[in-house]
């Protein structure tokens, strides 16, 4: 049976896990790290870099290094969230052909799913190297509060990366799986997931028979560790400006250095109470003098700068709890997930609000990927004790009615999969076309409805107003992805209708991207194969040279060996030429000759 990998596609870091025997484990990448930075860069030569290698060059190549792409996925360019990212990001965000956000890197303009696909592809390779077999199926996690567009775009990213995404799972739910299989039935747990870019909280109940039921979920897709970093950067910039009258934001490289230093300081302050920020030669003033940034930062200052962010997360937590119809006392555990939860202030606050120490038994960076891998194995039947997830839809869904009203079909926190049908009538005599505008609304934000998609039912019977009844049906699958259909009741005629994604990619576009990604992957794999041959040849050349030297010094230029040595030397010089050259494919043919020569020399040497 083919294995399914679980991927936590994070805002700042991503992680891949697979079920190995009875337990799921995280797979380390080539550098030995369990997590891979979600960063993609394009070098001067047009080469694409992903992960640690992209992060290392981020400072010198800030304009062409993408980070936190997850904050842009499935969003419209003119949405307030993207607009704020445009101001802060060091890379260029542009508007795509469907009104969606895209990213300009050197000469290319890439869609956000393509960027994510590069990260997914990297993780796929990590898993394939570990398993020694091709990987085709994956479960990918998304924040619970992701909407339909964002889920769809994440699925598209998987497709582009050549993965069959068998399920999109919510991150807190996945974390609960990795925690829950060892817990007793009937446990109620709150998962507090403070990640790099998003904040999510889900309240789950672990039921009989391996069922994980989400009782309620809430979140903010624009609250995360990145915001904490941003606060620190803002503070540093303000302090620097007060001292030197220079705006550090004016320089992209300075901004990137500041961001890196802020992130590092934040992490350090989880274990120490004070740290030094030291950025020499960060910028020069108008007189050309080099300026240095040097500050010490205490944990207390960090907490002061970010107190409102933490308070916001706690408010969201309490909202989710009340939506689930529970009291604080009903919780058996509060589970901490995401790198930000290492912050002592967060742990303190949770202890204070919930009256109990949070549970830190799962690894905050790895448990999401592990849970996803476990769910994947369960879905394809590789797990003996199957898991059943009953997740909920985070947002209310409905359609816009005549005059701009909103008619809700699926309320927030409805268990998925689900389907709802509602009847509507025409509002004008002789109306033959009805446009269905699908919208979603976050809880308590009636005014901020977001367009999910729209389509029209054409050719309905021309009758008096109100005489034609059209059934609109919403179906939400287990991925949380929405399908909407409309049909005229009387005629039973179902016009062919597809929801045009309002800010996604079209099918042909995805196929095109898939092709080019697969091509790039082949190239890369091919390049790696050649590289390994080149290395094999080089080491053989080295050995042959050494043996030849030994033989010469011990036996001298005896006439018996002369011819043989000359032959070997000919092979050697040819090999050297090829390994230095740009056409290493011929090396393959040469390798056996080199091998023979080495063998002969070894036997002669003895």
């Amino acid at each position: 049976m083919k294995r399914v990998i679980g991927i936590d596609l994070g805002t700042s870091n991503s992680c891949v896990a697979v079920l190995d025997g009875a337990t799921a484990q995280v797979i380390g990448n080539r550098g030995g790290y369990k997590t891979t930075p979600s960063m993609v860069a394009v070098t001067e030569t047009g080469r694409k870099l992903v992960g640690h290698i992209a992060k290392r060059q981020a400072i010198t190549n800030a304009e062409n290094t993408v980070y936190a792409a997850k904050r842009l996925i499935g969003r419209k360019f003119n949405s307030p969230q993207v607009m704020s990212a445009v101001r802060h990001a060091s890379y260029r965000i542009v508007e795509g052909p469907h009104g969606e956000a895209r990213i300009a890197l050197r000469s290319e303009i890439l869609s956000v799913p393509e960027i994510s696909a590069l990260i997914l592809q990297e993780l796929k390779i990590v898993a394939e190297d570990f398993l020694g077999e091709p990987v085709e199926q994956a479960v990918i996690t998304v924040p619970a509060y992701f909407n339909d567009n964002q889920r769809q775009a994440t699925k598209d990213a998987g497709l582009i990366a050549g993965l069959d995404v068998i399920r999109i799972v919510n991150e807190p739910t996945a974390a609960a799986i990795s925690y829950g299989t060892s817990q007793r039935e009937g446990t109620t747990v709150a998962v507090y997931d403070f990640g790099g870019g998003t904040f999510d909280v889900s309240i789950l109940e672990l039921g009989k028979g391996g069922v994980f039921k989400v009782l309620g979920t809430a979140g903010d897709t624009f609250l995360g560790g990145e915001d904490v970093d941003e606060r620190l950067v803002d503070w540093l910039v303000a302090e620097f400006e007060a001292e030197h009258k220079v705006d550090l934001r004016s320089d992209r490289m300075a901004r990137q250095r500041l961001k890196d230093a802020a992130e590092k300081a934040k992490c350090e302050l989880s274990s120490v109470s004070s740290t030094e920020l030291n950025l020499p030669f960060i910028i020069s003033n108008e007189r050309g003098e080099a300026l240095h940034l040097q500050r010490s930062l205490s944990r207390a200052k960090l907490e002061e700068l970010t107190a409102d962010l933490i308070d916001r997360s706690i408010d969201i937590c309490l909202d989710a709890l009340s939506d689930a119809g529970l009291e604080k006392g009903d919780l058996d555990d509060v589970l901490l997930v995401g790198g930000m939860t290492r912050m002592p202030a967060i742990q303190r606050k949770i202890t204070e609000v919930f009256g109990r120490e949070p549970n830190r038994s799962v690894h905050p960076d790895e448990c999401v990927a592990i849970g996803a891998a476990m769910h994947g194995a369960s879905l394809v039947g590789a797990e003996k004790k199957p898991l059943v997830l009953l997740d909920v839809t985070p947002l209310s869904l409905g359609i816009m009615t005549h005059g701009g009203g909103f008619d809700e079909l699926v309320p927030a926190n409805t268990t998925v999969p689900t389907s709802r049908v509602k009847s509507f009538t025409t509002s004008r005599d002789g109306q033959t076309r009805m446009s269905i505008i699908v919208q979603q609304v976050a809880k308590d934000r009636e005014g901020e409805r977001e367009l999910l998609g729209e389509f029209a039912l054409e050719g309905i019977s021309s009758k008096a107003k109100g005489a034609v009844v059209v059934d609109v049906s919403f179906a939400i699958d287990a991925n949380g992805i929405v399908a909407v259909e409309a049909s005229e009741q009387a005629s039973g005629k179902k016009a062919a209708i597809t929801v045009e994604a309002s800010s996604g990619l079209t099918k042909p576009e995805i196929q095109e991207m898939q092709k080019s990604a697969a091509h790039a992957m082949d190239e890369r794999r091919h390049g790696e194969a050649i590289e390994s041959e080149r290395q094999a040849a080089q080491s053989l050349v080295g050995e042959v040279e050494r043996l030849l030297e030994n033989l010469r010094s011990s036996a001298g230029d005896s006439s018996v060996l002369g011819a043989t040595m000359a032959g070997i030397e000919a092979v050697l010089s040819q090999a050297k030429l090829l390994t230095d050259g740009r056409d290493p494919s011929k090396l393959k043919a040469l390798l056996p000759q080199l091998e023979r020569a080495a063998q002969m020399l070894r036997s002669l040497g003895n």
């Binding site: 059943v388 008619d407 999969p417 009847s423 033959t432 009805m434 009844v469």
Partner: protein, 465 residues
């Protein structure tokens, strides 16, 4: 009768077959283990045409013949097999779709769904506490979650599983909080439909008699069950049907119908006045749409009545009832459909009751037997079997008495029914009546096993007098 199962050829290979349209149509209606009659019913074609088409489809390999003894049509609930009680093993048809266990489960749950009572569906007593409801829900939901059938071609059975899943979800949701549960319980006891058969009334008054409640009391007292069935299902169906129609977005402009104008401009144009106007118009339109739907349901139901399809008619009229509970045509149709469908539904219940007994689901079995007896009021055999089963399962003795009494009324010369009636009397403590029935039975057939049982029970009871 031969049964046919769709071979589910791939669309490509199907296109290669030299099929006539009518054969294609027949093929589309062949499910797992369908009889020619099933197909005829679902296509509306005559039997000869269907048989010809089926033969040709078998010849071409698009349909397989799957034996003649299989007892359970896999896809249909409303059509009970002629002899449903031949044995449990025959029930397991269509193993290529469901495993035997899943098959059992799906049918059990569908039978429970017919009773349209959340407690019955979850298999818990009315008195169950929160914990018991949760456990029952989790156990069921783990078994019917669509993920459990992932990667398998369930064919036409897929929507059935989805329906069951949705029903289990709805049941749990309705009983999830104290408030909701109280509201639901109220709706159960408020349901006082006109009770059409005198037997039901007898049961209701028999409630709370001196019969000691058994430790695992049936989830429903019989009176409630009988009364709540159609109300609650009407309720459920009403929800499925959706609420009253409301006004949908038309192209918002005065230009011809094909024009498309963005929602943004629409929103900006919408003044308070327009909204008020819309509301007024909506209030005019909603009844119109409702009337339209009602009309189509009634005509659908009447057509089914004319064709003798009781279950289908019942469904249509119940839907109609949920739209308008006082429409005379609907009420008349409903009564007729209930009459027409009752034996059919009764047999279904008897069948499921027997299955529940095999599965040792005593609570279900009792509820199903009671439902069967209520429906098949004029079928002596069902009445007798229900009585025997309720005595055997230690169900509500007053219901057993009613059933046995009804059986004797219908067939006074049947020794078995007499003896059953005697046992039922005895169970109620009516010793004199029991003895009288024993004598009557002995006159008719002294060797009847039920009579022997009755005599044994009488002698063991005597010393207590």
């Amino acid at each position: 009768m031969s049964r046919y199962t769709n071979a589910r050829l791939s669309p490509d290979s199907l296109k290669q077959l030299p099929l006539k349209p009518v054969e294609g149509f027949v093929l589309s209606r062949v499910d797992a283990d369908s009889t020619a009659d099933d197909v005829a019913a679902s296509t509306g074609l005559d039997a000869a045409t269907v048989q010809l088409a089926l033969d040709r489809l078998v010849e071409l390999g698009a349909v397989r013949v799957t034996g003649g003894r299989s007892q359970m049509p896999a896809a249909r609930m409303s059509r009970p097999p002629e002899e449903p009680l031949q044995g449990a093993e025959d029930v397991r048809a269509a193993p290529d779709v469901f495993t035997a266990e899943e098959f059992e489960l799906v049918h059990l749950l569908e039978a429970r769904m017919l009773l349209a009572n959340h407690y019955v569906l979850l298999g818990v007593p009315l008195s169950a506490d929160r914990r018991a409801i949760k456990d029952a829900y989790y156990e069921l939901v783990a078994m019917v979650h669509p993920d459990r059938f992932r990667g398998r071609n369930l064919g036409v059975a897929a929507p059935r599983v989805a329906r069951i899943f949705a029903a289990v979800e709805a049941a749990h949701e309705a009983l999830a909080s104290r408030d909701k549960r109280a509201r639901y319980d109220d709706s159960l006891s408020d349901a006082n439909e006109p009770l059409t058969s005198p037997q039901v009334t007898a049961v209701s008054s028999g409630q709370g008699r001196a019969v000691a409640p058994l430790p695992d009391e049936a989830p429903l007292s019989s009176g409630r069950l009988a009364a709540s069935t159609s109300h609650a299902s009407g309720h459920m169906l009403a929800r499925k049907l959706g609420r009253a129609p409301s006004v949908a977005p038309p192209p918002i402009s005065s230009s011809p119908p094909s024009s498309t104008q963005g929602p943004a401009s629409a929103r900006s144009e919408a003044s308070g006045h327009a909204i008020a106007e819309l509301r007024r118009r909506y209030e005019q339109l909603a009844p119109l749409a409702k009337a339209e739907k009602l009309k189509s349901l009634v005509s659908q139901g009447e057509a089914a009545l004319a064709n003798g399809r009781g279950a289908e008619a019942l469904q249509a009229f119940r839907l109609a009832q949920s739209l308008d509970a006082h429409d005379t045509a609907v009420l008349r149709g409903l009564t007729q459909a209930e009459e027409l469908a009752a034996p059919e539904i009764g047999k279904n219940y008897a069948y499921f009751a027997k299955r529940a007994e095999y599965a040792e689901q005593t609570t279900d079995a009792r509820a199903f037997w009671e439902a069967a007896a209520t429906r098949a009021a004029d079928d002596a055999e069902t009445q007798g079997r229900a009585a025997a089963a309720l005595l055997r399962l230690e169900g509500d003795a007053s219901v057993a008495l009613r059933c046995a009494g009804r059986a004797v009324l219908l067939e006074p010369k049947n020794a078995v029914f007499r003896a059953l009636l005697g046992r039922a009397y005895l169970r109620q403590g009516m010793l004199r009546n029991a003895e009288r029935e024993a004598l009557a039975a002995a006159e008719l057939d002294a060797t009847c096993t039920e009579l022997i049982d009755l005599r044994r029970e009488l002698t063991s009871r005597a010393p207590l007098e």
